[in-house]
Symmetry: C2
């Protein structure tokens, strides 16, 4: 297999830059969020998704998919949030197996308090570090990268509450 195409210097720079930016941004935001609002990044993301949903509640499976995490991991995190009273669980009326995670008023308050600081941190770490044209290229390029690694796609999703429109295809 002499056919391995190794990475040249430019490609290596992109790959290393991606790895370093990934690790550092993630770690930095994790820390900032924890100090500033007592939330982990997964916690924050869960609250955001719930707040963005039409009725403030989302099916566990949909939530896990949106957060790029495993279902068991989500069960744990939602459990933690429930203990704190930021999230509640209801069973889904149309499917007894289903569980809806719902934002409580306290959860909404915590999110409202945490959001400005988090957005500022995201700007400082990433967004405002990029030139406007870089921003667009990163959005387009990384968007494509992420989309290509999405799970095979669940067809027949036409059931009903679809709700979350995926990015304009």
């Amino acid at each position: 297999m002499a056919g391995t195409r190794w990475l040249d210097e430019r490609e290596m720079a992109a790959w290393q830059g991606f790895l370093e930016a990934t690790s550092r941004v993630s770690r930095h935001l994790e820390q900032q969020l924890k100090e500033d609002a007592g939330l982990s990044h997964p916690h924050y993301e869960i609250l955001v998704r719930l707040a963005a949903a039409p009725d403030g509640e989302v099916r566990m499976t949909d939530l896990a998919e949106g957060l790029f995490t495993s279902k068991s991991g989500l069960t744990y995190q939602v459990g933690q949030l429930e203990k704190r009273g930021l999230v509640e669980r209801h069973s889904c009326p149309t499917d007894v197996r289903g569980v809806l995670a719902a934002l409580t008023p306290e959860g909404r308050d915590v999110l409202r308090a945490a959001a400005p600081g988090h957005v500022a941190a995201v700007r400082a770490a990433l967004i405002d570090v990029l030139e406007p044209d870089e921003l667009d290229v990163v959005a387009r390029a990384l968007g494509r990268v992420g989309r290509r690694l999405r799970p095979p796609a669940q067809e027949t999703g036409s059931s009903d509450s679809g709700g979350i429109s995926t990015s304009s295809s």
Copy 2:
């Protein structure tokens, strides 16, 4: 609180794209590496760093810094690699406290066997998905992002410094 500059649509696209690409690429490569070579991504990166070092051995602290991980995390990972015989520990001659992690011949073999598959996966997931001009922008932009989040003091010229450009703009 009117001072919060929320993310507009373009900025949100960049941020979400970054998050999704980050998660998916990381998870994808982790899996590919594990199936293909029985290594986790941290394991692989450790072997790469050691193989790239002049004498095939690196100080624990330097290694941790290069891998963007905590020192205790590295102790654990190197311990795992040592159990498998892929890495050895020597004490540093110039500093009794210091520990040098060194690649064993077996470790070099495992790395050599794993590298082609990993590089191919990195290409398929990220590098070859980007247009050449996108590649350069990503390298430059994310490189800057990562560099700005580096811990304050860095000396004794580590791996590469390639010129610390003061983002005077």
